[in-house]
Amino acid sequence: MVLVLALGDLHISHRAPDLPAKFKSMLVPGKIQHIICTGNLCIKEVHDYLRTICPDLHIARGEYDEETRYPETKTLTIGQFKLGVCHGHQVIPWGDLDSLAMLQRQLDVDILVTGHTHQFTAYKHEAGVVINPGSATGAYSSITYDVNPSFVLMDIDALRVVVYVYELIDGEVKVDKIDFKKTTTTQVAH
């Protein structure tokens, strides 16, 4: 039972001052084992804050990040799953499933976490699952101003992943979940 937090595109302090208070009250240290961040934090203070929630932090570089030394892509293994992170501005067209699937095959991961579009999506295709946690602060994106703050928490348990989607809609936190299993025989995520 491993809890992995996936979030990104916070754009603090350029486009948003801080995470919504309701999100902050939920993100307490001690519960989460790993954090995956798609990038665009953008300042060091946000990095430090995420560190306090969980010491194991994986960040990919977004185009507005002030820290230049984050990698473009990163992969890690948690339990039976391989996860990959990439900010997503490098993949053109932005947010296109087929192009992201290409990246996923390149990185050879089961779950690919990308951002940049500031919209939550979760796609499944032959090579695996692509998750976009959206923007945790609701900052406007290059595409649209209408953004709901959102992030994702994954509960990885052997071959099963439960993805909890946290969205702030009209000032209330709404939580949904998505269930999927990995089949070991074929690449098809089932």
Partner: protein
């Protein structure tokens, strides 16, 4: 006037070995009776071979043939210092006591009064006798032998059920709930591509939930207690291979201790886990795990759990902080000890409490809450527990008498010492002859029993 006289019985020549006939007036009569009932011509060492005890215990007869000193060391071979427990009782008496206990245990309905009387003299170490006797004394096994197997099976399966229910993590719990509610619901099978469907969560159950009734929230709150239990379990008896070290064996034992304490903490939200409970659990689990009967040793965890609950039930209030100052709390028990000392040895009491101002809380707290497990080596504390568990007055009263005896035995040194030396002495109690100490404790009874 202060009573200056040392009690007579303390100074009597009874203490000096080996007055086996006089040391235990109660048992000497039975000893004589037993040996006379056995075959007349046989010398004492072989008297047991001819005892007509209808107990089919093949391992024990082999054990009996060996001299008892080896018998005492074997099950407790990982303790380095066994010196203090080498009591001056003769081998014949030990053997006959074992025979009597075995005889009592082999009856169809066990006479608890008789068993208590025999056990209070000390239970011999061989043949798993202590395991069975402790289980009977703690009420885990019923007195009717015929019911033993059904009771044991019931309790053991109950413990297994507790474990399954309480030691599950929230992922598994939520999965179980879903499986039971949505068996017919389609799983997103055969979706080769496209957006994954989102589904509602039930009852607001998500990992970051801060709700009081949330399974996840409770899980994270429990992790604190579990961490503390973990830390204490790792520190239990670091000198014994049974409990500590890197071996597989030690790890499984530690896991068993941890499980028992976690299940106890979850079943008793009022008291949860308090540091020290691991010390009370350790001898119980050790004894049951080393039961020579394979079948019982395999279920040592379940047996130890129930016996632990039973043993702790008499002392629960000592662990509850809110009850500290109440009539049932630890302070009140300590003052009872103080009064007991005053009653039996006023001079010593006055010297300790008034002259040197050694507050009994400084030493008696650990003696009482941990049932003397920390004051003596492991083997000795088992002997003390024999007496504590078997005494009809109840473990708490007996414990106070034993503590009082501990004080009286070192009275000369205490009377000569000041605050610092007395405190040091009492917090590191010197090794002593345990049977002597238990005899003195026996003598302190207010209603002289036999």
């Amino acid at each position: 006037m202060v009573k200056k006289a040392v009690p007579d019985w303390l100074n009597s020549s009874l203490w000096y070995p080996p007055p086996s006939s006089a040391a235990r007036p109660g048992s000497s009569a039975t000893n004589a009776a037993a040996s006379s009932s056995e075959s007349d011509a046989a010398p004492p060492d072989h008297s047991t071979e001819t005892v007509p005890v209808p107990v089919p215990l093949p391992p024990s007869s082999a054990v009996r043939a060996e001299p008892p000193e080896v018998e005492i060391r074997d099950p407790l071979s990982d303790d380095s210092d066994n010196g203090a427990s080498g009591s001056p009782t003769s081998t014949a008496e030990d053997i006959s006591r074992q025979a009597q206990i075995l005889q009592e245990l082999s009856r169809k309905v066990i006479n608890m009064g008789e068993l208590r009387r025999l056990a209070s003299q000390g239970i011999p170490d061989g043949a798993g006798i202590r395991c069975t006797v402790w289980k009977l004394l703690l009420g885990y096994l019923p007195t009717d032998r015929g019911l033993w197997s059904s009771e044991l099976a019931k309790k053991r399966s109950q413990y297994k059920h507790f474990k399954e229910e309480l030691l599950m993590n929230p992922s598994e719990i939520t999965r179980k709930l879903e499986n039971s509610t949505s068996l017919e619901n389609e799983e997103p099978k055969c979706e080769t591509g496209g957006v994954l469907s989102r589904s509602e969560i039930s009852h607001g159950e998500h990992p970051l939930s801060l709700g009081k009734t949330s399974v996840w929230n409770q899980f994270f709150q429990d992790t604190e207690i579990i961490e503390q239990i973990d830390r204490d379990v790792k520190r239990t008896h670091p000198d014994m291979h049974f409990f500590s070290g890197d071996s597989e064996f030690a790890k499984t034992n530690q896991d068993a201790l941890r499980n028992i304490l976690i299940v106890f903490a979850k079943l008793n939200p009022g008291i949860r886990y308090v540091q020290g409970m691991n010390e009370i659990l350790a001898p119980l689990f050790y004894m049951f795990r080393n039961d020579p009967i394979e079948e019982h040793a395999a279920f040592a965890e379940a047996d130890a759990f129930f016996c632990f609950v039973e043993l702790l039930s008499g002392f629960r209030d000592h662990f509850c902080q809110q009850l500290d100052n109440s009539v049932v709390g630890i302070r009140s028990t300590i003052s009872k000890l103080s009064m007991l000392l005053k009653q039996h040895d006023e001079e010593l009491w006055r010297h300790l409490e008034v002259t040197t101002k050694v507050n009994p809380q400084f030493y008696a707290f650990r003696w009482i809450t941990l049932l003397l497990t920390q004051e003596f080596n492991f083997a000795d504390s088992l002997l003390i527990w024999d007496t504590l568990l078997s005494d009809p007055e109840g473990p708490q009263e007996t414990l106070l008498r034993v503590c009082c005896a501990m004080l009286i035995l070192i009275r000369r040194r205490l009377l000569a010492g000041d605050f610092t030396s007395n405190l040091k002495l009492l917090q590191h109690y010197p090794p002593t002859n345990i049977s002597h100490m238990l005899y003195v404790a026996n003598k302190l009874r207010s209603h002289p029993a036999r």
